[in-house]
C-alpha cells in the first residue's frame, strides 16, 4: 500500500523512525518540515517539505492547500502521524477523501492530549496513545497498544 508519513521535525521524526519497520514492504513517503535533518528524511524515502506551522494561522491555511496537492498527486491509501500540528490538514483531508488514517499521540504525552491530538481525534480512523493512563483523557475511540520505546 502507499503510505503517507506525516511528522514535524525533531522528536516527532525520531519517534516516527521507531515505527518504520511496520511499513516494510509498503511504499512510504514523508510530508514534513524543512530542518537540519531534511537529508536524513530523504535518505529514507521521498519527501515533501514545508515551513514550520507552529501556531501560525495563515501558515496552517497554506498547509491545507499544500497537503491537498500532495494527497491528490500521491493518492496514498493510508496516512500515519505521530504529530505534531502538520498532521491536522492531512487528517481532515484524509477524512473527507476517505483515506485510512492512524494517529499516534506522541510518546511525550502521558496524562494530557496535545492540541494536535484533540484536533485530530474526531476525524482519525485509528487513534492510539502510548501511555495507558492517557486513555482517561480521551474518548472511547482511543486505544493503547504499546509505545515506540
Amino acid at each position: 500500500m502507499k503510505i503517507c508519513l506525516v511528522c514535524s521535525h525533531g522528536g516527532h521524526f525520531t519517534e516516527t523512525l521507531q515505527i518504520l519497520e511496520a511499513f516494510a514492504g509498503h511504499d512510504i513517503f514523508f510530508a514534513t518540515y524543512y530542518s537540519s535533518r531534511s537529508k536524513d528524511v530523504e535518505q529514507i524515502a521521498r519527501a515533501y517539505f514545508t515551513e514550520n506551522i507552529g501556531y501560525h494561522v495563515v501558515r496552517m491555511i497554506k498547509a491545507f492547500f499544500w497537503a491537498f496537492l500532495i494527497l491528490w498527486k500521491e493518492k496514498p491509501q493510508v496516512i500515519v502521524s505521530l504529530g505534531s500540528e502538520i498532521a491536522v490538514p492531512f487528517f481532515y483531508w484524509g477524512w473527507l477523501l476517505r483515506i485510512h488514517t492512524i494517529y499516534i499521540e506522541s510518546w511525550c504525552r502521558v496524562e494530557t492530549l496535545s492540541l494536535t491530538g484533540k484536533l485530530v481525534y474526531p476525524v482519525a480512523e485509528v487513534f492510539l496513545v502510548q501511555w495507558q493512563q492517557l486513555l482517561k483523557a480521551c474518548g472511547k475511540k482511543a486505544r493503547y497498544v504499546g509505545a515506540v520505546i
Binding site: 516527532h12 525520531t14 511496520a22 500515519v80 511525550c108 496524562e111
Partner: protein, 161 residues
C-alpha cells in the same frame, strides 16, 4: 564526559544551563553543554554551544557517560536506545520554559519506571547527587514493541478489503 542538552526549543532553559555550568566548575569530569536558546552562557563547561547538527549531537550522546537533558521525547528515545544513564530536568510552564507541563509528567513516569532520574529543581546539589547515584540505576532496554505489530496488522486488514 557529561553531556547537558536543552534541545531546539525556542524558549531557553536558564535554570538547567546555569546549574550545570556551576557544577562543571566543581567537577573533574569534562562537561559539554548545549544551551539552545538560553540567555545564560556557560563559563565553566569544557565546551558549550547553542545548536549543532543531529549527527554531532548523536556522536556526543554516544561519547557521553551520563546525559542530563530536558524531558523531550527525541533526546530521551535516543538516550534510551543507546542505553545511557539519563538525568531528566523537565521544563516548567511556571518559569516560561515550556507552553505546558507535559515534560514533568513524562519525567515522573520514567522516574517511576526506573528508566531515568527526575530532578525538578536543578541545583548544584541535586545534580551532583543524581550523578552520584547513577550506578544504582538499572536502565531497562526497549520493551517488546506491540505497537509495531498492531500497525502492521491494521495495514494487512485494510489491504484485504
Amino acid at each position: 564526559m557529561i553531556l547537558v542538552t536543552v534541545g531546539t526549543h525556542p524558549q531557553g532553559f536558564e535554570r538547567l544551563v546555569r546549574a550545570a555550568d556551576e557544577l562543571a566548575a566543581r567537577l573533574e569530569e569534562e562537561m559539554v553543554i548545549q544551551y539552545g536558546s538560553s540567555s545564560y552562557l556557560p563559563r565553566f563547561a569544557a565546551r558549550s554551544f547553542d545548536f549543532t547538527s543531529s549527527e554531532e549531537m548523536k556522536r556526543l550522546m554516544k561519547q557521553a557517560r551520563i546525559i542530563i537533558s530536558h524531558a523531550a521525547a527525541g533526546t530521551i528515545i535516543t538516550a534510551l536506545l543507546l542505553e545511557k544513564p539519563l538525568i531528566l530536568v523537565p521544563r516548567s510552564k511556571k518559569y516560561k520554559e515550556s507552553l505546558d507541563d507535559h515534560q514533568i509528567q513524562l519525567t515522573s513516569i520514567l522516574h517511576d519506571e526506573n528508566r531515568a532520574i527526575k530532578i525538578l529543581d536543578p541545583q548544584i546539589e541535586t545534580l551532583s547527587n543524581a550523578i552520584r547515584i547513577i550506578p544504582e540505576l538499572s536502565i531497562q532496554p526497549r520493551k517488546p514493541n506491540s505497537l509495531l505489530f498492531y500497525i502492521r496488522q491494521k495495514l494487512i486488514d485494510w489491504e484485504k478489503r
